[in-house]
């Protein structure tokens, strides 16, 4: 299983690089699908098949389909590919790559030593502690955030509705 873990990890990294460096938006989104499938495979290799299956169903099977859908609707042709190619010239790559390399070196260095002594200050926070703080003292803020999202949902639904029920539209005439 270790081989499967490293192989799918490698595929995930390469596919994600493909997402960034590809000129064609649809191909880029498909690389992202491959990357998600590879991450699901990593979950399988780690002995968490349930998480892996959900990763495929939710991310690769539903969310990414919507991404592909939107990119298809935009109907980007050869012009968009050419524009992307201009944007992705080596000069543009240089700065972000350098900064990312610094982050990568730091990350590898931290992982290599593997001790908590390198923290700037304080303790390591687990997910459980974060959850307890969020739903304890900060419950009101969390609920306000939820309300904001709900309001956004209602607004989006309202905006979509308005267009459908415009007077004299096709939908109105054909309704029984």
């Amino acid at each position: 299983m270790e081989l499967a873990f490293y192989l799918s990890g490698l595929v995930a990294v390469l596919a994600t690089l493909g997402v960034i460096s590809n000129h064609n938006p649809v191909h880029g989104v498909l690389y992202l699908v491959v990357s998600l499938l590879a991450v699901a495979m990593v979950f399988f290799a780690l002995g968490a098949p349930f998480a892996g299956a959900l990763e495929i169903i939710v991310y690769a099977g539903a969310i990414m389909v919507l991404f592909v859908f939107v990119v298809m609707m935009l109907n980007l042709g050869q012009a968009a590919v050419a524009q992307e190619r201009i944007w992705l010239q080596p000069a543009t790559w240089l700065g972000p790559s350098l900064l990312a390399t610094v982050l990568l070196v730091t990350l590898i260095g931290t992982l290599w030593r593997g001790d908590a002594g390198m923290l700037v200050q304080g303790d390591v926070l687990s997910a459980k502690q974060v959850g307890m703080i969020l739903f304890g003292p900060w419950l009101l803020v969390v609920e306000l955030g939820a309300l904001l999202l709900l309001a956004a949902l209602v607004t989006a639904s309202h905006v979509g509705r308005q267009r459908l029920q415009a007077p004299g539209s096709e939908t109105d005439k054909e309704a029984p």
């Binding site: 299956a53 495929i56 169903i57 099977g61 389909v65 592909v68 609707m73």
Partner: protein
């Protein structure tokens, strides 16, 4: 006697190796059977449609038209395999492969008899849902890569329809999962020894069947193809064996949904007197006939009605079913 056989056996042929070989052979047989049944169904469907619509159907090649399949295969193999110059070549080739592969992979999880079946996984049902999710890409990419207006409209219809219907396809199965207490299809079949789940999960069955029709886009949910409006939709630019893979893939999908309905709601291989394989084949054939009969008898609804029906009727029904099932299980639970 057994000792002599053990002595005759070569060194490398341990019981483990033999078990692996048998499992691989089984997997191959199931794979070939699925493809072959899919191919034969194309002819069976046309004969049955002809019969139900009071006409002959293909009856010229061989006795009763049984060799029609061979004729079709020869024709489809020798057609020009054409890729339009304006198409996105990689995706154009990839799409039919996804269509076929994702559905064939799903056959792994179906337990045919107590001894037959490829994978016995605890996440069996989730694997089917995952492969169903991947299968959307075949239509989506096929339609987009063709760079054709009709194909694109078909692909967009398909993705919207499949996403909507997959939502309650998954939810309609959760009633069965809750009753059996497992995603493992073998355990689900075993849990139905006393009573098939069609009785307690009737709503779930109806919703799953409708969603199954929609997800493999069979008539009356063949919006992505819709011959009359879209001139075959997403596979309009495809020819030869690439078209063949979309075409056979549709029938393989039919077979898959039928086999799943049998496994989840009709007790799988269980049945009196006759051997398990007979019951499984009989029940699956019944649902295949149902697929064809529905095509023969129902008109295709308008596209927006299909979407409305899914969200307004099927989703609430599925949720009610899930709620009632959960309540009953909690009430019946000891303690």
């Amino acid at each position: 006697m057994s000792r002599t056989i053990a002595n005759l056996r070569p060194e490398w042929l341990t019981p483990e190796v033999m078990a692996i070989a048998v499992a691989m052979l089984q997997a191959l047989v199931i794979l070939l059977a699925a493809v072959l049944v899919g191919a034969i169904l194309t002819v069976v469907e046309r004969r049955l449609l002809g019969w139900w619509q009071d006409r002959y159907g293909p009856n010229r090649v061989g006795p009763f038209g049984v060799l029609q399949l061979v004729a079709d295969m020869i024709k489809i193999f020798f057609k020009e395999d054409w890729i339009p110059p304006f198409a996105d070549k990689t995706l154009f080739v990839l799409a039919p492969a996804i269509a076929m592969a994702s559905l064939l992979l799903s056959f792994m999880i179906i337990p045919i008899t107590p001894g037959w079946g490829v994978a016995n996984w605890n996440i069996g049902l989730l694997f089917f849902l995952a492969m169903g999710g991947i299968n959307v890409y075949s239509v989506l990419l096929g339609g987009w890569a063709s760079a054709n207006k009709y194909a694109l409209i078909g692909a967009m219809r398909s993705s919207a329809q499949t996403i909507s219907y997959e939502v309650f396809m998954g939810l309609s199965l959760m009633g069965v999962v809750a009753m059996a207490g497992s995603f493992n299809l073998r355990e689900i079949v075993d849990a139905q020894q006393g009573l098939w789940y069609i009785v307690p999960q009737f709503l779930g069955f109806c919703n799953f069947l409708i969603a199954g029709f929609a997800v493999v886009h069979r008539h009356p949910f063949d919006q992505p193809e819709a011959e009359q409006e879209l001139a075959d939709g997403y596979h309009i630019e495809y020819s030869s064996m690439k078209f063949g893979m979309f075409f056979i893939g549709e029938y393989v999908g039919m077979l898959l949904v039928s086999a799943l309905v049998v496994t989840l709601f009709f007790g799988g291989w269980h049945g009196p007197v006759l051997p398990p394989i007979f019951w499984f084949v009989l029940k699956t054939s019944f649902f295949l006939m149902l697929f064809i009969l529905v095509r023969a008898s129902l008109p295709r609804p308008r596209y927006d009605r299909v979407m409305t029906f899914g969200w307004i009727v099927c989703l609430p029904l599925t949720l009610i079913n899930l709620l009632v099932t959960g309540g009953v299980i909690l009430l019946a639970a000891p303690g």
